[in-house]
């Protein structure tokens, strides 16, 4: 019942395969990056601060939340709330990176831990899609992460430089690029009826949470509810088979 440890292949081939796999969502990342850069200028971030935050924090939803709190005058900048908001918005990454453990051998864990900095929703999703097919390597994850980082950096800096009001991504349906890609990935991960309960519970919990609670809590709530439901159902099946 345990997942076999995949071969640790740190090859360039895998790196580029990971980058290629993330191209569909990179378009959407860039569209949101430009919007973020434009809003960052209005919020009073300097070009240097935009590059620094995109490069180091590298987390879209946390950066959007930060703009609501940011003030143009340094003296009134709410440092504590900014850090706390980033922590809360990014809590869901606990779930995401936990699933990447099988990618690394025990002796690769220090390197793997450092690589987590480049984990985004996008390259995480592509990598777990690969892992579900018995593939997926650290280099694959890294390739997608580097592509996402470059896209995010280039687009947020461009948005800050342009600084003018540009179209909302929803105008061209680009907001749906994430959703469509992740939906296709999810469908590709279907392994049988055992997936029905966790996916349904996750979807229903996420929809309810998204309506009731501000922010990105719905991902964490749906993810925990769905995965626990899946594990409970699987244990009950195992027990039923044994008796």
């Amino acid at each position: 019942m345990h997942a076999p440890a995949p071969p640790a292949s740190w090859t360039l081939d895998q790196f580029f395969a990971g980058a290629r796999a993330c191209i569909p969502v990179a378009i959407s990342v860039a569209a949101y990056g430009i919007v973020w850069g434009v809003l960052a200028k209005q919020a009073g971030l300097s070009l240097f601060e935009v590059a620094l935050m995109s490069g180091l924090v590298f987390a879209g939803s946390a950066q959007f939340v930060a703009l609501d709190l940011w003030t143009a005058t340094p003296a009134s900048l709410p440092i504590g709330p900014l850090i706390l908001a980033a922590l809360i918005v990014n809590l869901r990454y606990l779930l995401l990176t936990a699933t990447l453990r099988p990618l690394f051998r025990s002796n690769e864990m220090p390197r793997g831990t450092a690589m987590m900095w480049l984990v985004t929703d996008e390259n995480w999703a592509m990598t777990v899609g690969e892992m579900a097919k018995g593939r997926g390597t650290p280099a694959f994850l890294l390739g997608g992460g580097v592509l996402a980082w470059c896209c995010w950096m280039a687009s947020t800096v461009s948005g800050r430089l342009l600084g003018s009001i540009i179209d909302d991504p929803t105008t061209y349906g680009l907001d749906f690029a994430f959703t469509a890609t992740f939906l296709a990935l999810l469908l590709g991960m279907w392994k049988g009826r055992g997936d029905l309960i966790p996916w349904l519970v996750a979807a229903i919990a996420a929809i309810a949470a998204a309506r009731l609670i501000e922010g990105s809590w719905y991902i964490l709530i749906g993810g925990i509810a769905g995965s626990l439901a899946g594990a409970v159902a699987e244990r009950m099946r195992v027990r039923a088979d044994q008796s």
Partner: protein
């Protein structure tokens, strides 16, 4: 204005907590048993998180996203290609919103 010490503190703090959370998930998973309930639970996280990311964006109360999701699923089942499925979803939501006047 380049930056301020306050802004540097804020950005550094945000970066550190983000990295701690991201690394924390991997390190916590390293402590979990590889068999039994914990292993089942970890195995079901990817599907559950993807379903949670996707579901609220599809069930919005408007038919445009539902139609686009159907188009995405259809193209994915026919082509098994992520890029084609993404393009179908984006085109689908664009035209559905135009048609519905959203």
């Amino acid at each position: 204005m380049l930056t301020s010490p306050e802004a540097l503190f804020a950005i550094a703090g945000m970066a550190i907590v983000t990295l701690l959370v991201k690394a924390g998930g991997l390190l916590l998973a390293d402590r979990l048993p590889r068999h039994g309930f914990a292993a089942s639970w970890l195995r079901h996280i990817p599907g559950a998180v993807l379903a949670s990311l996707v579901a609220p964006a599809i069930v919005t109360g408007s038919a445009a996203e539902l139609l686009a999701a159907l188009a995405t699923a259809l193209v994915f089942f026919v082509t098994r290609n992520l890029f084609a499925a993404m393009a179908a979803g984006v085109a689908g939501v664009y035209f559905a919103r135009l048609a519905l006047g959203i």
